[in-house]
Point group: C2
Chain length 99, copies 2
Amino acid sequence: MKNPITGLNKIFDNRIRLGVMSVLMVNEEISFNDLKQLLEVTDGNLATHLVNLEENGFIKVHKGFIGRKTNTTYSITRQGEKSFSDHITALENMIKGVK
Amino acid sequence: MKNPITGLNKIFDNRIRLGVMSVLMVNEEISFNDLKQLLEVTDGNLATHLVNLEENGFIKVHKGFIGRKTNTTYSITRQGEKSFSDHITALENMIKGVK
DNA sequence: AAAAGCACTTTGTAATACAAAGTATGTGAA
DNA sequence: TTCACATACTTTGTATTACAAAGTGCTTTT
């Protein structure tokens, strides 16, 4: 038998970062506020995880407007897609092992 | 859209505990040492996570012998199977969402 | 002019994770 | 019989992480 948890990405051990990534896999972009409500987190906490994901090159930020209100949105990067897919694959392999 | 990370069990956010559980889903029992080598962790760290899993009622401990050498093995409980299955289901649902 | 919203940053604290060292018990070798 | 070694921990100390709450700067709404 081999180590079932190799290939898991440490960045995605955290559930909020995991949540952000899986949302961004299926949504072209999402706003800060929508993300905050969806994941049910405080804004400070969310902001920290978003910075982390951005610094790791997994997401990118777009500062825009809705009318004249600021509206920040986030989207996934190529590298983010790749790294998250790899993580999902590792999870699936682990799950396959237990079934 | 709904929160993709609801249903995930916080105990299984940690990769070592996740690893222990997935090993115990497919092995009737495993010894402390085998687990340590398989998951590539220090014994102190592993022991801590095993205590955590035991206190949560997910695994049980059997202190036995091989010949006259002590041999501690671990196995999953009914509740552990249930909780871990639920976690896997939650993961699968999350993954389904991103595919 | 005041209050409120957005998207943060800063601050402080609590929880978590981990390595390393120490411990108790027993075994095998010299 | 004494010494080194193994098992399965526990203890200790530290580093990392996560989080809430409060503060900030800007803008918009009332």
